[in-house]
């Protein structure tokens, strides 16, 4: 899922303080799972902003609402009226939701979160990066552990010389992705695979290739 982290209140305040009617608008899927931008968090954020406004003695009407997903058209219908009433929107969706709203509505839309990574819920309250959506998945060659997202140097034929006691050179708290890969290759009895050189990666399906697009013709004609 997409993991995000709420921006500091001061930063958010700086973005919205000059508007009269601000809607804090949640997205109840990924960013709700990590308790940062769901409809409940939007409600909490709205009340914190109301407090802030009264402390600063500034009259802003702050409301809150939310939908299931801000990255798809069909969910917006139910919130249409409340969105129309606001003169600025603080979206607590990921960067996709914020951009999608900006495309849909000709009014100021601000991000309430820092969109952080594509991750897994390791345990409640701990989220870790697992994928960078490179567009050409190599997990088949790396025993199901992604060196692009999880190795600090995204080396394809690691580990680099900095791997120490299973940890990455950047930080003793961070697992060395290549230690994980080697351990899993050993577990699967596939250590011979380790010596196969990984081909030079084609990054054209990654960010390098510009914005990506997926079209399913069969679904368009339905």
């Amino acid at each position: 899922m997409i993991v995000g982290q709420q921006k500091p209140l001061e930063e958010i305040w700086g973005m919205i303080k000059d508007y009269k009617k601000v809607l804090v608008f949640g997205c109840n899927t990924c960013v709700a799972v990590c308790h940062q931008g769901g409809n409940k968090e939007a409600e909490i954020l709205a009340s914190m902003l109301k407090m802030k406004a009264s402390q600063e003695g500034i009259a802003i009407e702050i409301t809150n609402s939310g939908i299931e997903r801000q990255c798809e058209h069909e969910f917006f219908e139910q919130a249409e009226t409340i969105i129309q009433k606001a003169d600025a929107i603080l979206s607590t969706a990921c960067g996709i939701g914020v951009q999608f709203m900006a495309e849909k509505y000709p009014k100021p839309i601000y991000p309430g979160l820092n969109t952080t990574f594509l991750g897994a819920v390791e345990q409640l309250g701990v989220y870790t990066e697992r994928c960078q959506a490179c567009g050409q998945c190599i997990l088949g060659q790396t025993a199901g552990i992604c060196p692009i997202a999880r190795c600090a140097k995204r080396v394809m034929n690691g580990p680099c010389g900095g791997s120490t006691k299973g940890k990455c050179e950047i930080n003793k708290e961070v697992d060395c992705a290549w230690q994980l890969i080697v351990d899993r290759l050993a577990l699967l009895g596939r250590m011979d695979d380790y010596e196969k050189l990984a081909p030079i990666k084609d990054w054209s399906s990654d960010r390098a290739g510009g914005p990506r697009k997926l079209v399913r013709e069969d679904m368009l004609n339905e």
Binding site: M156, N157, P159, G161, T164, E169, E195, A198, I200
Partner: protein
């Protein structure tokens, strides 16, 4: 061994069966060439080639290529170090051609330290290729005369291709397999991480020899003399992938402060003397970090002077 022959003097010396000696020089953090010139003058008669580091420890410095050209004009053979951290495949290949235009005939392919260690921690890293893929790239440019993109190169580079190996990094079980992988990628010489744990290094070398890898690449042992007990402790505790045994730290710590530097040189000389006997080893890479004036002393004391003429 790779049956390539490049104009590299280092390659000729190693191929003739001599123990090779290289050293390194970190370019200055400014544009004054004097620092490079002085270091080169100090060591030029005692080594076969001098590595120029590429923004070592991710701290921004004068570029390796320019410093290599400087060495070349002084009659010193350079080894161009190149990290994949800062440049994509276009820039890497372009710099290789630039180096080749100056007849720089040695390259050492590295991934580089993570930028978070340096003076531009907020910078983006590139890692379009990794170190093994850079080795493959130089080999393709040289042996096939082609760019990665497939086009022909007019006057391909003539470079003796090297890589680094760390016998002490984890996971230890794959340390030899990893060397084999670098050789498969095309590494013709290897310079290792600084060696302090001689037993562990000898164990690694034994495994390397058992697999016959010493017949496929020249392995040069990395040596760095310690200046003080403080430096030993720092390397032991702070530098990732470094194995400094406690007895080395203790030996320095038990030496009076004003004698610790001499003791560090002694330790280094003893280590080289011991490792000279190790089967499969082809030479030494003496990295006297900001202590280049000590290189002649070490080379002389270990019987590696005078350097052979080829």
């Amino acid at each position: 061994m790779s049956n390539s022959t490049t104009p590299s003097k280092l390659q000729k010396i190693l191929a003739a069966g001599h123990l090779g000696v290289t050293s390194e020089c970190g370019p200055p953090r400014g544009s004054d060439p004097q620092a490079v010139i002085e270091k080169a003058e100090l060591i030029k008669d005692y080594v076969d080639a001098v590595n120029i580091t590429d923004n070592q420890t991710s701290v921004c410095r004068m570029c390796s290529l320019a410093a290599c050209i400087r060495l070349k004009t002084l009659g010193v053979e350079p080894v161009l170090q190149m990290v994949t951290r800062d440049r994509n495949r276009i820039a890497l290949q372009s710099d290789i051609l630039g180096a080749a235009s100056w007849d720089i005939n040695n390259i050492l392919c590295l991934s580089g330290d993570h930028q978070s260690f340096g003076d531009h921690a907020a910078g983006q890293n590139v890692h379009d290729l990794d170190s093994m893929q850079l080795i493959q790239t130089v080999r393709m440019m040289r042996d096939q005369g082609k760019f990665l993109g497939g086009d022909d190169i007019k006057r391909p580079p003539q470079m003796f291709v090297g890589a680094a190996a760390n016998p002490f990094a984890d996971p230890y079980e794959i340390r030899v397999a990893r060397l084999a992988k670098k050789i498969a990628a095309g590494a013709e010489f290897i310079q290792t991480q600084c060696i302090y744990n001689l037993d562990k290094f000898e164990d690694w070398m034994k495994k390397v020899v058992d697999r016959g890898l010493h017949e496929k690449t020249y392995i040069m042992a990395g040596m760095t003399p310690m200046k003080s007990a403080g430096m030993a402790r720092y390397m032991k505790n702070r530098v990732p992938g470094m194995d400094v045994p406690e007895d080395v730290v203790k030996r320095l710590a038990d030496t009076p402060k004003d004698k610790q530097a001499d003791e560090g040189i002694k330790i280094c000389i003893e280590a080289i003397q011991r490792l000279k006997e190790v089967k499969g080893l082809s030479g030494f890479h003496i990295m006297a970090i900001e202590w280049e004036e000590k290189v002649p002393e070490i080379v002389k004391a270990t019987g590696l002077y005078p350097r052979p003429q080829v």
